[in-house]
Amino acid sequence: MQVIKYRKIYFTISIILLLGSLFSLIFWGLKLGIDFTGGSLMEINFIEDRLSNQQIQEKISDLNLGQINIQPIGEKGVLLRMKEIDEDTHQEIINKLGNPQEERFESIGPLIGNELKQKAIWAIGLSLLVIILYIAWAFRKVYKPVASWQYGLVAIIALFHDIFITLGFFAFLGYFREIEIGLPFVAAFLTILGYSVNNSIVIFDRVRENLLKTNWNDFKEVVNDSINQSLTRCLNTALTTLFVLLAVFFLGGESIKYFALALIIGIIVGTYSSIFITSSLIVWGKNK
């Protein structure tokens, strides 16, 4: 397979995807869940017939709950999202709706939401930093024909590429499907990050090995061979991981469904970038 030769095509595809993500992040933005913004979420199952959204609105309209988002789920279930409420208001809502069975209730104060957000940002920032340092260290012996720090840099570019496109996709989903980014997404994004770095490492590892064996005058050729040698591994690993994630997405229940979706998208994008983008970038870096 000729990857390096057609690298302009792959760069173009990636740039289009990145611009699309940028667009959706700017215009629609990420829809943050109550974990980060504070607010409450209530999942109830009506014992008799389900009330319509309008009936629910009317019944609880005098409680001054501000904007309420009502979403029917399952056969008789409803998911209510609103501002943070206290326990008394919570009980009053249940009363007014005729004592349905409550499956889930979460109410998170804005202060705690903000703390969680801070913590998440810290966790992501710190792991990025440490991973970059680790790659720079792991590739310290490879310095010809490109410097070892360039591998680290390319791995980071690939990683941002993967995460940015996944985020863009979720901004899109948030706008059209009302899917929110909650705390589990932090874990999902960190996993994508790890996966992306892992892929870069596997390919660089091949390049590192081949450079020692062959004449590195033809760097393009060496990189292209390395990709082809790692191709089956990349695809097989992506496939096996996708098997499990797809099973979780389709069978795993509501609460981890979108967690799995984030990973699925991240892994597809990550596999694409590790095969087509990482290597092209390394070659491009050498020509500079």
Binding site: D86, R104, S127, I131, N198, I201, T240, V244, A247, L251
Partner: protein
Amino acid sequence: MSIFKRNSEKSGYKRGRRNIYLTILSIFLIGIFAAFLNYPTAWNNGVNWLNNKVGFTVMPHFWERPFKLGLDLQGGTHLVYEADLSNIASEDYMDSMQGVRDVIERRINLFGVAEPVVQINKVGSHYRLIVELAGVKDAHQAIEMIGQTPSLDFREERDKKESEDILIRQQEIIDKMQQGVELTSEEQQILMEDANFIPTTLTGRYLKRAELQFDQQTYQSQVSLEFDSEGSKIFEELTRKNVGKRIAIYLDGSPISAPTVQEAISGGKAQITGNFSLDEAKELVQRLNAGALPVPINLVNQQTIGASLGKISLNKSLEAGILGFLAILLFIIFYYRLPGLIASFSLLIYVVLVLAVFKIIPVTLTLSGIAGFILSIGMAVDANVLIFERFKEEFKSGKSLGGSIDEGFNRAWPAIRDGNISTIITCIILFIFATGLVKGFALTLGIGVLISMFSAIVITKTFFRWFVGRKIEEWKKIWG
């Protein structure tokens, strides 16, 4: 790594073979032990059958240890209270928080929840109390009980005649009840009444502080109380009125001590002497301070999952995990043939081992924890795939089976190591920085990745080496 060292000497061949058998044996023994740990019922049923046959206990039961499930999988409620400490001196913050925790713990124990978690959590200048009640059916009732402000009050003794009267009346009502007669609300009221003591106006509101002290002569531990100025007046009057009688101290409605008043006490200080052990006295001080320091707490965060939803989530994610796992096994067997089959065995042992470790530690399994575990299976497969790809290359280039195995493992190792280390770094950071949900994910993924390295390098490789020098080595096609 020394395990990659190639053992090409002819003399070492026999010893190498014996080592392989020993390693395989120990892998299987560990695997079987872990499997019984995960599912002790299988062992215990067998043992029961055997014991019944023989007539006496031949073999003991296996250690039964349940998986620890998180709130999202077994249902329950997670509450966060913020304490308002604005009226407390800052050096007493921790003391009053401990007091609040103890009171709430006692309230929860009354509620009858298995293994409740009550933790003090300090974030910046915020002091919080985290309460986790697993499997609680009525979260609302639990919240109401926790929310009550701790109550401490003093009661004076009734005179003998009065308490006897009440006791007699109560006995009558109990007799009536036993005959199945419906009680009037008035009768129920009487039944609830305390026959020995009547409440007074002196409550924990007037208590300034309680302290642990020791008697100068006997070194007996005692508890000293100090009232504020208003409380001192009430206390003085109360003791004057009740010289020679008992005054009972009630906490949350139940008596903790009933000392006899020796003389009227002015100055608002009192000692509770009794046959306390040091620990009891300490606990009492903490309780009294808790009752005396009405730190208002405010529910700021609530997450409640119904038991049925938890069960559905658990079953669904288990189903998804098993199905995904089977798909992986089929895929690698189909694609890599015999090596794939070998890897399937080592992956099975891997899963059993990880689950056993989850049980032993124990790791609280949540939905995100299960997701982390499922992902670690992916990492374990990746290690095997990396090795097989390298192995195939070597084997196709005409190397012997043993040589290709060693070469394949050697060449795949740097990539496996670097990839796994970066994942473990992420897990450690997440575990330290993140809370609840994400923490569970980091823990299971981290444990999984650690064990996966062992599974790929030791288990898969040992199984592989077993085939070296056997007839099947010649059958090139089966090796992929």
